[in-house]
């Protein structure tokens, strides 16, 4: 069943993805050309969303910023899944063993470090960059995926078809890869969209405080930092980057909800009746 959520979410997220990709070949204006006489212009036919304090076109900057936001969020989901899922599957395969305990306690430990603190540590060490943001959010995502895949895998390990595979002589690693992973893939995709949206929010926060993407790379968070002191003079400078964040996060969350309904119609009962 395709829900309204899925369509609306898909359209919103798709829109930002298209803008981000399009920005590689075309933006209405060049984002690195400054034009001081045109600074802080209100939205108009020429500058659809106005210009910033250096006369740069805000719509163009949002397009390039979408690239940064989406790339950082996507990369950190890949890190989270790439490390977290194998850890979770291993913990489930060795349930109640020492390895399970070590992995889960390790997860608790990482959970105690909010991504802002990880980013602060890395920045203290090597200076701010977009890579800090990717690593910080990625590390934060690891326990999320590890816990989710361990929990889901645990409930599968007692199923009869897994028993059959064990009787057939398959080892824990093969069973995890061939039977468990495909069966939890839906869950992972849904959580992936949610973490993607969380990643966009955290990236914006990190670049807002200067721990993420550095100039001249446009990013939504830094556009907001620039806008803050000028908010009374040029509110549009703060309005549009914020709206871009809200709409992309909303889109991804709606898409996650919609996908969950598609994958697991049973869950719908409790959530939306």
């Amino acid at each position: 069943m395709i829900s309204r959520n899925l369509i609306l979410g898909g359209v919103l997220s798709g829109l930002f993805a298209v803008l981000a990709v399009l920005s590689f070949v075309w933006t209405p204006f060049d984002v690195e050309t400054l034009s001081i006489p045109d600074r802080m212009l209100r939205p108009s036919g020429t500058h659809w969303l106005g210009t910033d304090q250096l006369g740069r076109d805000i719509f163009s900057m949002l397009m390039v910023g979408a690239r940064t936001s989406l790339a950082v969020a996507l990369a950190s989901v890949v890190i989270g899944m790439g490390v977290g899922v194998p850890l979770g599957l291993t913990a489930a395969a060795r349930r109640d063993g020492l390895l399970d305990d070590v992995i889960m306690r390790g997860n608790d430990l990482i959970f105690a470090f909010p991504s802002i603190l990880i980013a602060i540590l890395f920045t203290a060490l090597v200076g701010p960059s977009v890579w800090n943001a990717i690593l910080a959010i990625g590390i934060f995502n690891i326990p999320v995926f590890a816990r989710l895949s361990r929990g889901a895998a645990l409930s599968l390990w007692s199923r009869e078809y897994i028993m059959a595979a064990r009787v057939a002589g398959k080892g824990a690693a093969r069973i995890s890869a061939e039977h468990i992973l495909p069966n939890i893939a839906n869950l992972l995709i849904v959580q992936g969209t949610i973490q993607f949206s969380v990643g966009i929010l955290v990236e914006a926060a990190l670049s807002y405080v200067g721990l993420g993407a550095q100039p001249p790379l446009p990013s939504w968070g830094r556009m907001l930092a620039d806008a803050q002191t000028l908010i009374s003079l040029a509110p549009h400078m703060a309005l549009f980057p914020g709206l871009a964040i809200v709409l992309s996060v909303l889109g991804l969350n709606l898409m996650g909800d919609g996908l969950r309904d598609v994958f697991d119609p049973k869950l719908k009962r409790g959530r939306a009746r």
Binding site: F113, I120, A124, A204, Y208, V249
Partner: protein, 310 residues
């Protein structure tokens, strides 16, 4: 037994966390002394600073000096401020901690009623309205929301100050200064909490004992108050515990919007001034706060659910 095991795991987590933080700052490539003094520092100056920071001692003994200091409240001396780090942190904790707690309180006060209303009216217009609003609340970056709060309530209406912190000598003014930041922090958390409250309550409302209670003539409201709410508290408490860590992290960001002299501002100043000792100890303190709150929430489960008192 349960308490003892959790306590042991708490101590273990803190020890490993402190080793991790220590390693990131002091062991990974890069000499903190050289880093603090910048690219053009004289080698003699770097050596002198290394000695002053105790970096010429062995790694293990340095760790124990630092960790032992943390336990006794001696966090070392800040390089740039030339005062004990404990003093620097002590002043600022009384901004960040009340801010996070204030936000937690607001978030709970907002989330409980609207989550309960949504659950009791599920499928009706009120439910859809609340769910839509919370979906939006989750998507709004708190620091962006904060900027507009400042424009509306501080600059235009002049109800509160736009930033800064007057200190706790005047508690009313202090609470006033923390109100907008706390509202900004609470909004997304309240949205999440309301959704959790709703789904946890809906789950319990489907239980047989609820049907029994209804069959005995208890009203919907009576069932929620007397039976369902208490049973829905476990997932809600878990989220409240997790939220504290998000609120503390969020406070670090929000302090920048309101120019509040809290731990967040201290951290950013310390990074800019390459004051790694301050970074190290402040990060450790924040992690400690998160771990301890998680532990306390775990303990609170046992109060809510007697079955867990083993």
């Amino acid at each position: 037994m349960h308490v003892a095991r959790r306590l042991l795991s708490l101590v273990l987590t803190l020890v490993v966390a402190s080793v991790l933080i220590f390693c990131v700052i002091e062991v990974l490539p890069g000499d903190p002394a050289a880093f603090m003094l910048g690219m053009n520092a004289q080698p003699e100056a770097v050596d002198a600073l290394r000695a002053q920071m105790g970096l010429d001692a062995g790694l293990v003994s340095r760790y124990f000096t630092w960790a032992g200091g943390l336990l006794t409240g001696d966090f070392g001396a800040s390089y740039t401020y030339r005062v004990p780090v404990a003093e620097l942190i002590g002043d600022r904790v009384w901004v960040s901690l009340p801010l996070a707690l204030y936000a937690l309180l607001l978030s709970t006060i907002i989330a409980f009623p609207i989550g309960i209303i949504a659950a009791m009216r599920r499928g009706k217009a009120a439910d859809y309205g609340i769910m839509g609003a919370t979906q939006l609340g989750i998507a709004i970056p708190n620091f962006w929301f904060a900027m507009f709060l400042v424009v509306i309530f501080a600059i235009n209406l002049r109800w509160v100050r736009a930033g800064g912190f007057p200190g706790w000598e005047d508690p009313l003014a202090a609470i006033g200064a923390l109100t907008l930041p706390a509202i900004a922090l609470a909004l997304p958390q309240a949205s999440i909490l309301a959704r959790i409250m709703r789904s946890a309550l809906i789950d319990t409302l489907d239980e047989d004992y609820v049907r029994t209670a209804r069959a005995k003539g208890l009203s919907q409201g009576g069932v929620v108050r007397g039976h369902a709410l208490r049973n829905a508290m476990i997932p809600v408490l878990t989220i409240i515990g997790l939220q504290f860590s998000f609120l503390l992290a969020g406070a670090i960001i929000i302090e920048n919007v309101f120019y509040l002299p809290g731990l967040g501002r201290l951290l950013f100043q310390a990074i800019n001034q390459r004051d790694l000792i301050v970074v190290e100890s402040t990060v450790m303190l924040l992690v400690m706060a998160v771990v301890v709150v998680t532990f306390l929430v775990d303990m609170a489960y046992a109060i809510v659910d007697p079955r867990l008192r083993r």
